[in-house]
Subunit: 140 residues, 4 copies
């Protein structure tokens, strides 16, 4: 199963090169993960204190422009002991042209103990319904 | 006396129209006020909990572009009982061409009591050294 | 008639004070005007080259937070010879609590002649269907 | 040789979690590369039309906060036929605490032919003075 969310590019998210600024893509991925957590992990909506972004990467495949709504498909490509990896595709809504492929490693964190914490069975089951492991080698 | 601060435009602060996006100007004004508080009000650096932005406005006079550092001149144009008004000029460094003229009303706020609070004599004296009242009528 | 548009706050549009950053409000107003032009002025969608933002102001009434979708109501409060004024209200969707009241002066501009240009009768008629003049005095 | 640039965090670049928002790091890397091109590649300042960002990644090591100026160290870790890779470190100025380690693949692009183009000898020589190949395995 893949999670899907839609997004409109804000005018200010473009830059003088005429397209969506590269930094804006990471805004979109953050929004997609926010919706994923909200929709997939009921009762654990406040991801601010539970999940830490350890790393993220993005391959820019084609340009995105203001006026073209985007679709972000997200799934889990790895579930570790206390961390898991998102894989995202950003597509132009309608044509489904691939704009970017990205990933993010999320660490399950306990703020009181100030350390990472194993993913609970409950959380693991939720994530597994979106699990699709990657076989192709990611560039960078 | 006028406070001055310099600023480099970030590439992402431009938009597809080719110039600095209008929303970025308010980022620059916020930065200028932050430096003003830090430099003019020693011991009251944490303006986040002390001063609330009640309103702000900006007249866009000429375009600003990536690659042209900006200078922001700030002074106090009004000191009230529990609020005061900043007037700002955004200029191109070097040519001093006027890019924008702006203002902001700041309310002195007590978070514990959750209400505005009179400006102390100490704060008033600090602000008065930057006081220059406006006579010309501001557009909008 | 009032134009309405909805908007979700992006997580990055908040700041460390815990609420929506003041500069983000101007992003929302720009988005609302973009939708207004797109929906109200058919055939004149590319407002980038036609309408210039001469000035904008915002009164911050109450805080907006991540997780609370916003509604922006927009109407025209003044139509001049070559410029017109938007008045905007930003409200919390659902409760309709007033978050901010704002305005923006738009100049109708001819880029080839590099000067402002009178509003055509066709454009004036479109704008007049959203005309609601302000009687109360706006602060700032 | 490593390129160094300094940067002040903008207040709006933080988020409600209290620290610098993860998307802001990519803004800082883009600014560092902009300065690198400006200072290291004289006569090729307009990188907008010459160099395309193919991909970027960032490992978040420790938090960055408003009020703590940052230093960004940048060097070239790979020079290919028509692309090259930046490696960046984001550090807290003063303590030099490592905040993030990042990378970016830049493609040398010919806009007229709409295809990548081999790096000229002149450009290669400039880049080689900042070349330091990576031996440690990068996470993600």
């Amino acid at each position: 199963m893949k999670h899907e969310s839609s997004l409109r590019v804000r005018f200010c998210e473009t830059d003088m090169a005429g397209h969506v600024n590269n930094t804006s893509y990471f805004i979109y991925l953050e929004e997609a993960r926010g919706k994923f957590f909200q929709e997939v992990l009921p009762g654990q909506v406040n991801s601010v204190g539970r999940f830490i972004l350890a790393s993220t990467q993005c391959d820019f495949v084609s340009q995105a422009y203001f006026g073209n709504p985007l679709v972000i498909r997200s799934w889990i490509s790895r579930i570790g002991r206390s961390s898991f990896t998102f894989t995202h595709e950003i597509l132009v809504e309608g044509t489904k042209e691939l704009v970017a492929k990205a990933g993010a490693v999320i660490v399950h964190f306990n703020y009181e103990k100030q350390q990472s914490e194993p993913i609970s069975d409950e959380l693991r089951v939720c994530l597994e319904s979106y699990l699709k492991t990657e076989t192709a080698e990611r560039s960078v």
